[in-house]
Symmetry: C2
Subunit: 376 residues, 2 copies
């Protein structure tokens, strides 16, 4: 029924970092990987061809947003999300859980599911685990996610315990409702906040259901980064070697490095695209705020060590001009660069694992980017 989709291909000898091959209906993915986010069936400012030039292997798109607009039925009639957005490669959709829980006072949670009002027009909706899977079946992504309860940080042990058990019951309902096992791989999501015993409880329950892959949810929600790394340190050794591990919503360079060192295979985050549109670039020397006056007459590229389209063709002075003048090309060029930067970082880490110098590579990158040593 559901396939074995993941194969570990190399392991770092000094860390838990590993490479793998993830096989989906629309192509194979080399892990560890960062997934650019295309919330509304488009990675903001980018064409699919541009995403190809930076070697994007898989995109993430958001079920909540597509359900609200243009609607999953319309996407299905368009031939599914791949066809609708003209992206022939692998896609992952989230469950919509994170977004509806983020609606705050506009939503109400029961055992059955979540009632909420649209952020667009205030209309009333209800998403249950079954509904989330139905929507994701219509969208047709290669990897789909179980509908989980996403809780805020901080939350006390009892609250998180109840939430973990609900997430387990909802995962079972998603598992039973899923009807496209042949071409869509449903991942369970391990919750449990920062409590080791609850992460273990969640993992054991979900592993027993034998999903083809597992998300690690409820991190990067306000807790200290050390707490996130601590959870990964304890949780990942309990996860099976032959299933992909997806740390959800995480994408800053430091978290990518710490995640990869701990054995994470997949990441996603709006960070690189969002900060690009705010005029911040990730470079081999750290972040660059392009509007700063120091770049006024800087006729050198954003990053002298980068071979992306932006760095090969434009100066910092021109990029600064585009941002000062509110020109869309500026948003495009920084988005292009930032995604290239993170995807290139992941490629560097994969190669470092294969050649077994991951820790050394991480230390060198970290020192260059943050100006201080990696704590490892």
């Amino acid at each position: 029924m559901k396939k074995n989709i993941f194969q570990q291909t190399a392991v770092s000898s000094e860390s838990k970092g590993r490479t793998g091959l993830l096989t989906t209906t629309h192509g194979q993915i080399e892990t560890p990987i960062f997934m650019p986010v295309g919330t509304q069936a488009t990675v903001k400012t980018m064409t699919p061809e541009e995403l190809k030039t930076i070697h994007t292997q898989i995109l993430l798109s958001n079920t909540y947003h597509l359900y609200m607009r243009p609607g999953h039925d319309l996407v299905a009639r368009a031939g599914g999300l791949h066809s609708f957005m003209n992206w022939p490669g692998p896609i992952l959709t989230d469950s919509g859980g994170f977004q509806v829980f983020s609606l705050g006072p506009l939503r109400k949670i029961t055992e059955e599911g979540v009632a909420f009002q649209s952020h667009i027009d205030g209309s009333r909706h209800f998403i249950s685990p079954e509904k989330s899977v139905e929507i994701q079946n219509s969208l047709g992504a290669d990897i789909i996610m179980a509908f989980d309860e996403c809780i805020p940080y901080p939350a006390d042990h009892e609250y998180v315990l109840h939430s973990v058990d609900r997430t387990t019951r909802w995962a079972k309902r998603c598992f039973d409702a899923h009807n496209r096992w042949d071409d869509q791989h449903l991942f369970g999501i391990i919750q449990g906040g920062i409590f080791h015993d609850l992460r273990q409880r969640s993992a054991e329950a979900l592993l027993a259901m034998d999903f083809p892959g597992y998300g690690i949810g409820g991190l990067s929600v306000g807790e200290p980064k050390e707490s996130m790394y601590d959870v990964l340190d304890h949780l990942i050794p309990q996860m099976p070697q032959d299933k992909p591990r997806y740390l959800m919503g995480v994408g800053s360079p430091d978290c990518l490095i710490h995640g990869v060192l701990r054995g994470v295979d997949m990441f996603d985050c709006v960070l690189p695209t969002r900060i690009a549109r705010n005029g911040t670039a990730m470079t081999s020397m750290g972040q660059v705020v392009i509007k700063n006056a120091v770049h006024t007459e800087a006729f050198e590229p954003l990053d002298p060590n980068c071979d992306c389209y932006t760095c090969q063709n434009y100066s910092r002075a021109y990029l600064r001009h585009l941002f000062k003048a509110n020109e869309i090309l500026g948003l495009r060029l920084l988005t292009w660069h930032n995604l290239h930067f993170l995807l290139h970082l992941m490629k560097t880490l994969r190669q470092a694992i294969t050649e077994d110098h991951l820790v050394e590579t991480c230390r060198a990158f970290y020192l260059q980017y943050y100006g201080k040593p990696l704590e490892w």
Copy 2:
């Protein structure tokens, strides 16, 4: 000193339509041509490579805007406008006249030039004919324009007479101030409102100075289209065959057709890019407002007869979704299509002139686009 830059290559036997070859430092241009506008050193939403794919031959950029931001000295230090914006092909800059005159109460005109306040920060500036040429020399475009007085419509005969004579005096000052005749071709601009005698007066004075090309200014400023066509009917026969004729600020399909039929060689306008960003596409069946509900489930391309990137890869339903969701990719895809549409129209007209069926081609296009016969 100044070169002979234009050669007429074919003439329509039933109209004044003609093809020609315009030679500039950065390449040859086949006319008649539409020039996409890159106001702030970027054609909004487009990369230079994308402009190449739609066979853009020459861009227009705005002296006023570049003078205000980032400043012509900075552009010069960047190696000139071609280098700054990464566009290796021909560029034309306007004189800044039209923009400063459009500032209304923020500007004051004297014989010496125009004093005005910046639309960005309110700072005070003065542009004279000499200053306009100095700025344009710094920017380094292939074709630069004389600083002229742009008057509103309607204006009475006496007012226009004085304005025409001032424009003539200013043209002479521009001519004398220009110091890059070897690689920048300075065009004079014929004014005169809708008065035939004043257009003739302006033309005679400027032709006597022997510019390498001529703009036709002060049209499409509120007068009826018939008045514009009437001016062209009378003016163009007085213009030399061996100099390019540039109808400034005009770019709707009907005006392009009527202009070409009357012997115009060059056009520019923000129309195709501006309406694209508002969600309006030019198609072989006329205008399409992409947000309209009728396109909700329209899985066919914007224009079935178009081979642009947008029409080859995306449905109307997807484009509508992008606009409803305020996604930048929507602005890109409609801009790309509209510019392709107008540049393709110009190519069709050039071919029709060469094959001597211009009027027939114009009639067929017009009927299809506007749903009514061309008046010719």
